[in-house]
Structures are given as C-alpha cells and as structure tokens.
C-alpha cells in the first residue's frame, strides 16, 4: 500500500526525475500516436468493411486475415519494423505497426455492423425506391454505427497498449516510465507509469462506451427497449467484434 502512495506522490510531484519527459508531454505523445494511427487505420478499413458488409463479398478473407493477425505478437512486429526501417525512422515503424494492429478490429466492426441489420429493413428501403447509395448512407451506415464504434473502441485500446510497449524503441509516451523505472529499481515510477497507462485506457474505454450508446439511432433505441429480443440478437455480433480484436 505504501508503494501506491509513493506512486501517486510521484505522479503529482511535477517532475518525473531520472531525466524523463514531464507527464503531460508523455500523455500528449501517447494520445497523438493513438489517435493518428486509429485515424489512418479507419480511413483504410471503414470503406473496405462497408464494401464487404454491403456486398457480402470477401467476408471469409477478412475473417481469415483478422484471425491470423491475432497470432502475430505486436511487440515482435514493432521491433522487426524498427530494425528494418532503421533508427532514423522510429516514428514510421511505430505508426505502421499501430495501423496494422488497428485495421482488423475496425474492419470487423464495419462489416458486422452491416450484417447485424435485419434484412427486412434493407428490403423495405429498397421497396421504397431507395438507390444502392441511399440504402448505404441512410440505412446501413447509421444502423451499423454502434458496432463500427465498438470496433474503433477495441482498436483504440489495442493501440494504447502497444504505444506503451513502443517506449522500448524510444518513442516516448507513458510506457517510458514503466520501462525506465525497472533498471533504476524506482518502483514508484514504474507503478506510477502503470497507473497512468491503466487510467488512460479506462478513460478512453469509457468515452467510447458513451459514444457507442449515443450512436444508436433514436428509432432503434425505442425498438430495443420495447423488444428485449432485439438487443439480444445483436449480442453475437458484438461478441464477434470483441473476438476479432
């Protein structure tokens, strides 16, 4: 318990000591890497996932790739790209690793979001005379949004964890305190850094949980509270997104 007190005292001391960057700087680096990588990954994976979900083609390949990606240790991939690209391109090596890691979850979120939609709703939209584009933008995208955000959520958390590890290749971020404290036997720094990383992950998770709830269209929210079965039906799809992460 004393150690926790020391760690909290270290966090609020204002100077991390041992020649380390101030906590706000490390936090800013951590957040910047996370958002930038998730953004790039989303630009790649969201349209692709929507195409898969809308056409129903390529799903097996996407599932196979996300399954295989799970077996690759992100720490190993990071070190490999770091060595291949060289010390001068540490940032690029790290960004590529983070983006590659984030893509499978976002892809799965995008297409499972479309798959979870009741086919009758899409048939109804077609029979009302909607074009393919209208079905996509007015029906599938809004209804698939909660699961897409679930995918972005697990991608973000995975990247936060990997940015922590990336302190090993001198990328900065909050992981540097954990890694720098160990050889110095400064467990207040190690634990303080670990608490900061855990807090950051929990806060981001909470923000995404709120976003996910807010992204359910008003009409669907009413339908879900009326028929509990509706929310049950989406449960396997939600599980698929978490499993894909």
């Amino acid at each position: 318990m004393n150690l926790i007190g020391d760690a909290i005292a270290w966090i609020f001391s204002g100077d991390p000591g041992a020649g380390l960057a101030p906590i706000p700087v490390a936090l800013a680096q951590h957040l910047m890497f996370t958002f930038l990588s998730v953004l790039i990954a989303a630009i790649i994976a969201v349209p692709l996932g929507w195409v898969i979900g809308h056409t129903g083609r390529g799903r097996d390949i996407a599932v196979a790739i996300s399954g295989a990606a799970r077996a690759i240790p992100s720490f190993g991939l990071l070190i490999l790209l770091f060595l291949v690209l060289g010390v001068l391109r540490t940032t690029e090596a790290a960004l590529i690793t983070f983006v590659l890691l984030a893509i499978p979850s976002i892809l799965a979120g995008a297409y499972t979001g479309f798959e979870a939609i009741d086919r009758k709703v899409i048939d109804a939209a077609r029979s009302m005379g909607m074009t393919q584009w209208q079905v996509l933008w007015r029906v599938e995208v809004p209804l698939g949004l909660p699961l897409l955000i679930a995918g972005l959520r697990s991608a973000t958390l995975q990247v936060v964890a990997t940015v922590t590890i990336a302190a090993y290749i001198n990328l900065g971020g909050l992981g540097q305190y954990i890694l720098a404290g160990i050889p110095l036997r400064r467990f207040d720094i190690v634990l303080g850094g670990a608490l900061l990383v855990a807090a950051l992950a929990l806060v981001l998770d909470g923000v995404f949980a709120l976003l996910q709830r807010a992204s359910v269209p008003a009409g669907m929210r009413a339908a879900q509270s009326e028929h509990k079965t509706a929310s049950k039906r989406s449960a396997p799809a939600r599980a698929a997104v978490t499993a894909a992460s």
Partner: protein
C-alpha cells in the same frame, strides 16, 4: 539465417518455456471462467457485475498490469508467476463471455426435457448444458489461446524470459533474423495449439460436425436418401 541455425537450442528452450507459461494461463483461465460464466448466465444480477469487472481488467494494457499485479497480490514482479497471473486474468476476461453466451445458446426446450426426464441440476449441467454450449465455448477458447501466446512476449520487457527475449535481445544486438525467428515461433505455436483445439473439439463434440453436415444436406433432400 546463420543466427537461427546457430541458436536452434536457444529457440527450442524458449519455445518450451513460452508454451509452459501460456498453457498454464490458458488452462487456469478456462477452468476459472467456467464457474464465473455460469454465474453470469444463471443470475442476471451477477451478469452485469462479472462482465463489467472482467471487461475493465481486459482494458488495462499488459505492460501496465504486470507492475500493478504484484502490488495488489503480493507476487514478485519479475517472477514467471506474475506473468502467468496476468495472462490468466486476460484469459478469464475473454472466456467468461463465451461461457455465458454458450450456455445462453442452449435451447431452453432441451433443458426442460432433460429436467422432465429426471436430470438433477448438476447432472443436467454436465450432461446437457455444458456439451451443448461446447461449440461457442470452444470458439472463445481458441481466441484466448492464440492471443495469450502472442501476449506472453510482453513479459520480456520486464525481464521474464520466453520467446519475447528474442525481440528484446534481437533489438539490442540488431539481429533481424532473431526477431523474425521469434515472430515465426510465436505464430507457429499459436497455430499448432489452435489446430489441436479444433481436433479436440471434433473428437469431443462429434455431433456439432454431424449437425452442420445435416444442415447442408437438408438443402438437397435427395442426396440424404442416397447417403
């Protein structure tokens, strides 16, 4: 490549250590998630609590959980036990939901008929609920096994030896084949374990395959009569 050939013994030794650490965590996680998943499925009130706590634990990045656990549980930070405990926590977090979902996927009519035939609660769970929930639980177990093996490498960052050592050592000495060998070894043992789980599932749950075959044949009724 020379590095790999010269260090086959090291790779073999690290692979065995890595397997030991991961398999203990996977088995422990599986055994502990059975009662927890059952509680979450059986009692609505417990469900929210159990799934929220495991979900939050899963959210904490591994490199942060490794130094936090010793403070909470009193385990030495640099010991293998610490890594195995962290991996077990992640395994439970992934598995509990699969167990609860799996039990939820059992047709209530089947459960009622088991009761009608005189099955007590315990016997019904082991003879009816658990086997029928098997395919969903197995799917969760496969995901857990593969991600546990990949995740274990992070232990090397706080000095716990396993295949992750090839990453830290390879990075310090700038030996690319060493890092590649580490990645390949991790992916290989993950795939082998995954394959073993698929085979075990087929052996223990032969009906899940028969069902799928029947479902496929149902489309072509003529073929069924021929077979």
């Amino acid at each position: 490549m020379n590095w790999v050939v010269d260090n086959l013994d090291l790779i073999r030794e690290l692979t065995l250590v890595h397997l030991r650490q991961s398999v203990i965590a996977i088995v422990l996680g599986f055994l502990l998630s059975l009662p927890l998943g059952w509680l979450a499925w059986r009692y609505r009130g417990a469900r929210g609590g159990i799934l929220t706590v495991t979900g939050l634990l899963y959210t904490i990045p591994s490199l942060a959980l490794l130094p936090i656990l010793p403070v909470v549980l009193g385990t030495p930070i640099f010991s293998e036990v610490n890594l195995i405990l962290a991996l077990t926590i992640y395994a439970i977090a992934l598995m509990v939901r699969s167990v609860a979902d799996g039990l939820g996927s059992v047709d209530p009519a089947v459960r009622l008929s088991a009761t009608a035939m005189g099955y007590g609660a315990g016997r019904r769970f082991w003879a009816v609920d658990f086997p029928l929930a098997g395919p969903v639980i197995l799917a969760g177990l496969r995901v857990t096994a593969v991600s546990t093996i990949a995740l274990a490498t992070v232990g090397a960052l706080i000095g716990i030896t396993n295949l992750g050592y090839l990453f830290t050592n390879g990075s310090q000495r700038r030996i690319i084949p060493e890092v590649v060998a580490g990645i390949i070894a991790v992916v290989l043992i993950a795939l082998v374990l995954d394959g073993l789980l698929i085979v075990a599932g087929r052996v223990m749950m032969p009906w899940s395959r028969a069902q799928r075959r029947r479902a496929r044949r149902a489309v072509l009724p003529l073929e069924v009569s021929v077979a």
